[in-house]
Amino acid sequence: MREALSVEFLKLRRSPVAWTAGLLMVILIPAICFGLVSVVEGAGEGLLAEKVRVLVSGTGWVAFSGLLDQFVASALFVGVGIVVIWCFGREFSDRTVGSLFALPTSRGMIAAAKLIVMASWSTLVSTMVVVVAIGLGLAGDLGPLDAAALEEMGAVLALGLLTSLLASTLALLASVGRGYLPAIGAMALLLMTAQMAVLFEAGAWYPFAAPGLWAVSGNQGELMVTLPQLALAPVLALIGAGLTIRWWQNFELV
């Protein structure tokens, strides 16, 4: 297992896809959200300010974390999803998969190593998004980082981790689809169905919508998500990981 992990970490470290996606998420998500909060806090009167006010509730850290929740739920899913799809699909698209047969390191182990590397990388990215956001909030004078603000930012981090877990299920689709395109199509479909589930008030039971709904609603009111409903996301990720490892262990080149 150590061998597969070291190889997969090396591939990730040298990957332009992972660096680009990671840096874009870590910089752009906090920067855009902070920019939008600044527009509202600045009492702007323009069209943008009017539109942003619809998205924002509260002021200061509450407004900032609320916007972060909305962006993290979708942008992180896409960003992490793209790297997960690259990590698994590239072996088929680059035709390197044949070299992963007939080795003392089993393909199941290689798949498990890929999942571990993706989990570590997405945890780092989710954490960095929150760290950069806190830095921006402090520098931009959103108020003191008190316990309530920390709780809000903790919820953003939890949402980031849950969203990353959900994105890891795309590994199975990139594997079964033997390349990037089927999984990218599935990712778009999952985003769309999550929006529809929320629209039809079934989001709490839909794992791809529940974490976003939980964070955005502040877990209050009609949109409240229960713990079992929220737990469906990690359960789904675990099932996806198990199926991915099993598929890699047994598939054949055709």
Binding site: L10, K11, G98, S99, A102, P104, S106, V254
Partner: protein, 245 residues
Amino acid sequence: MMSIVAESITRSYGGDLAVDHLNLDVGSGEIHAIVGLNGAGKTTLMRMLMGMVKPDSGRALLDGRDVAAASPAAWAHVGHMIETPFGYPELTVVENVRAAARLRGVKAGDISSSITAVIERFELGRWAERRARTLSMGNRQRLGLACSLVHRPRIVVLDEPSNSLDPSGVVLVRDLMRCEADAGAAILVSSHHLDELARVAHRISVLHRGRIIGAIDPDGVDLERNFLELVHGAEVGLRDGGLHA
């Protein structure tokens, strides 16, 4: 004694029979070459021997054990390059060879010396720190071979190893196969270049429509004529058989 054996192995894709009840063996210290036209079944046969494709019937054996049940220890003695050479474009030549050595179970203490030796052997030193994506096709092929052989395997399966290689690369591969076989490796190799195979192979089997239809003496003359006569004879036999049926 390391060996690889195909026992009445069969595989079809849809209605197309790619390999048809084929028997083949390669023993320790032997270079067994297979030749055939495009689509004869060479790659499918090699894929089955390496566990990449499951046979519909028959067995592929690695040292007497079915490849489907081969242990990690058994695979640690195997090196192969079938179709696409190993090589991640974002990694340098050294990083690729190190990755291959790790995945192939080379002991941590032996990795550096194995990398140095194989890079020297394939004359890749000049490009050692270059990313694989910037290499020429020929050097990518050399890199793939280096990755396949970094662990000095005792069973070697190579599909068209001299593809894209310049004449010095072709000689290098030929010398390498000879050297490994002399050291006891069992080598199965495919190629379209009969003259090249004749210089190294102990046996040359002709594969056509998924079956071994005969053998060519590597020391014989006019190998291409012998090959084409065998293929033509098989086609005539099939046609007549079809007519009589």
